[in-house]
Amino acid sequence: MNPCLQVKNISKRFLGVKALTDVSIDFHSGEMHCLLGENGAGKSTLIKIISGVYDATEGEVIFNGQKVSFQNPRQALDAGISVIHQELSIANDLTVAENIFLGAEQRQGFKMLLDRKRMNKEAQEILDFMKVDIQATQIARELTAAQQQMVEIAKVMTKKAKVVIMDEPTSSLSGHEINALFEQIKILKKQNVAIIYITHRLKEMFEMGDRVTVLRDGCKVETFNIADVTEKELVASMVGREIQDYYNRQEHTAKEELLRVEGLTGKKGEFKNVSFRACAGEIIGFAGLVGAGRTEVMEAIFGARDYSSGKIFVSGKEVVFRNPIEAINAHIGLVTEDRRRTGLMLNAMIKNNIVLPSLSKNSKKFGFLDLKWEKEVSEDYVDKLKVRTPGINTVIANLSGGNQQKVILAKWLLANSKILILDEPTRGIDVNAKSEFYALMNAFVANGGCIIMVSSELPEVLGNSDRIIVMREGEIAGELHYKDATEQNVIELASLNSKNT
């Protein structure tokens, strides 16, 4: 069988960085071909070359037996290559239907005027067909991140493409939506479409994939048939060495209570009557479907969101935080779920990010900066957390996701946090970086800290938490000790269907 799409000896050089070196892969119609590799291995770069976003420095792309070199995304789209990019690609101000047909609008009246009616109708049809509860006429801004991702999926489904590329499409999705996505992938396969799929979740790969190519440091390592390979082999191939159980569960012993929340209820009904406690030396996992209200609870605790009633106690004393400043002073830190938007000053240096919340308390007389201190502590944390970077003066946008996440962690450790709230801390992070991050979490609680981890990735919650609190529609649906928790019973608690049982 002839490959539908080939990349041959592709190399890509950015200023100073070699992102890809001599990569050749064949992709076949009707097949789901996965790309696997650590953060920064070059996966997204490869697909951007295929789809006309970047030019390759060397090598060629062959599509349907012909050499192609797309100068922009338009040309790739016209040829039948359609992409869901890693970063959410939604125009917030447009409606769902307008997003779905963006760049391929239905026209009427001399091909100038928009045919809104038809676009709305057809968009609604595909959304209904995918069984997602979204109105075609809604403004994209009003959707949750998961819903926006579903809109992107709907968008590629309308394209009648020959090649569909998905770069981490599930990173903001939970079980229900992932299933909906997999249904669509099955349909695409039946239509003999070639699918290129990137994910850090091995489970998905084994469930859906046909073949997998592993990239490491911009080079191709090997292509496997998924049926013939084990998870362990894949990870070894990707990291370059064997990794043991990367959750590496450790026994913690809960000590004194650090945080207690009683009957917390949000102003807009985002969460209702939420009560729980967290102790020094513990990791508490928060599981639930996307949209269950976990983020909002954490924001409320951190003083970043108003609530209408309920009480919060820190170390036994009742507190009311009117803003994050007061929460930080009470030694609470919040690692937000959206690194790029709310976690980092992307154009600033590593050191500037690390010291931000601690600057005021470590200044010299008259509010002058202590630059020596800044350098020392930043270097210290970069060392301790093994952040891979040329130095503390590197602009943080140039780090891989995992390393960015470590810098955020460093920022809160330096701020002397006792209670760390981590919201989706490993979203989009490769397995190796994840395991390093988990080790840092364990060290933190071993030192008497307390972690509250919100995660939509069940294995992560099950693998790290001491207790698991499950939320459903803004309320706490139940709490499980890790020894009693299984994927099965957590999902049951989290999902709507089990409401009556």
Partner: protein
């Protein structure tokens, strides 16, 4: 009832405008006369055209502060061309005015657009430069003197009126008003009903996304700037036609009122949303305030204070209602 409330909340600017009109209607006895209302619509025309063009570039998340200078350049250009045809017909004068604005607006807008898309100069600085350069060129070509001596036909579009009656020997309906309504309506349709218009919103909402969706964002930006400058130039030739005279110092500072009108009409300076139609309410508010204060003989100094305060109030008012909705 609920619906009315929701509508009101979304359309506070209109409520505000109606309130103003009633206020001036009560305090003066001339505000609601036919003559004054007609004057008012003709006085809105220039700012309406400027604000229309600005709506496009502001939706893109950009800005254009060169509109006043481009208007002046187009105005003197059309007047200089007009001088070559001392026996022009009304029809020819219209052609001269429109072609002049297409030429000057086209050149200036193309220049702005290229600087922004190819040379990556931010719109504020690009258009600041164009503002200065265009004004300089205007003075150079005129030598600082007004371009005068144009025939009456030249002023048909800018100063003529239709419907001559006994009590209105010069006609009632200003031609400039009709002309502006047509242009603005076309520009409104282009933005709200066409594929190009959608691409303007998409580019302003998220340039990256628009590009990845196969939209030639550079071309969208370039076209929008050309349209914006053409609107400005149209405004300028209408001023020249109205004054039967090309003034090199014309339209200085008009960009600020045009920007304010656009924002009053709900177009967000951060891009992605807005509408030509709604910008017209902003234009109307500013025109009504000016006209009403003139009728009340309020001093030009107090007028500045009042107009600044009202712009601020209207924006705050509008936003606070929207937040509640």
């Amino acid at each position: 009832m609920e619906k009315l409330k929701a509508w009101l909340k979304k359309n506070m600017v209109i409520v505000f405008l109606i309130g103003l009109c009633i206020g001036f209607g009560v305090t003066t006895d001339t505000f609601f006369t036919t003559k004054n209302v007609m004057n008012l619509t003709s006085q809105m025309a220039i700012n309406a055209l400027l604000a229309t063009g600005l709506t496009y570039v502001i939706i893109l998340g950009g800005i254009d502060i060169s509109v006043g200078s481009v208007a002046a350049l187009a105005g003197v250009f059309s007047a200089m061309v007009g001088l070559m045809f001392p026996n022009m017909s009304v029809f020819l004068s219209i052609i001269i005015l429109i072609v002049s604005s297409l030429i000057i607006g086209g050149i200036c807008g193309f220049f702005n657009g290229i600087m922004i898309t190819k040379f990556k100069v931010v719109p504020m600085i690009t258009t600041l430069a164009t503002m200065t350069i265009a004004r300089g060129v205007t003075y150079i070509v005129t030598g600082g003197t007004a371009v005068f001596g144009l025939p009456t036909q030249f002023s048909w579009l800018g100063a003529g009126r239709l419907l001559v009656t006994d009590s209105h020997p010069n006609g009632i309906i200003p031609i400039i008003t009709l002309f502006t309504i047509i242009v603005v309506a076309l520009m409104h349709i282009l933005l709200s009903k066409t594929v190009f218009g959608r691409h303007v919103y998409a580019t302003g909402s998220n340039l990256q996304v628009a590009h990845l969706s196969g939209i030639n964002t550079n071309r969208v930006i370039l076209k929008s700037h050309i349209l914006c400058s053409i609107m400005a130039a149209l405004g300028g030739v209408l001023v020249a036609s109205k004054l039967q005279n090309g003034q090199p110092g014309a339209c200085e500072g008009y960009e600020m009122y045009a920007i304010a009108s656009t924002v009053l009409g709900g177009t967000s300076l951060s891009g992605g949303s807005g509408s030509v139609g709604r910008a017209m309410f902003g234009v109307a508010i500013i025109a009504v305030i000016n006209n009403g204060m003139n009728l009340l003989s309020i001093s030009s100094y107090w007028q500045k204070v009042v107009i600044g305060s009202i712009i601020l109030l209207a924006v705050i008012f509008d936003m606070s209602q929207k937040k509640k909705a």
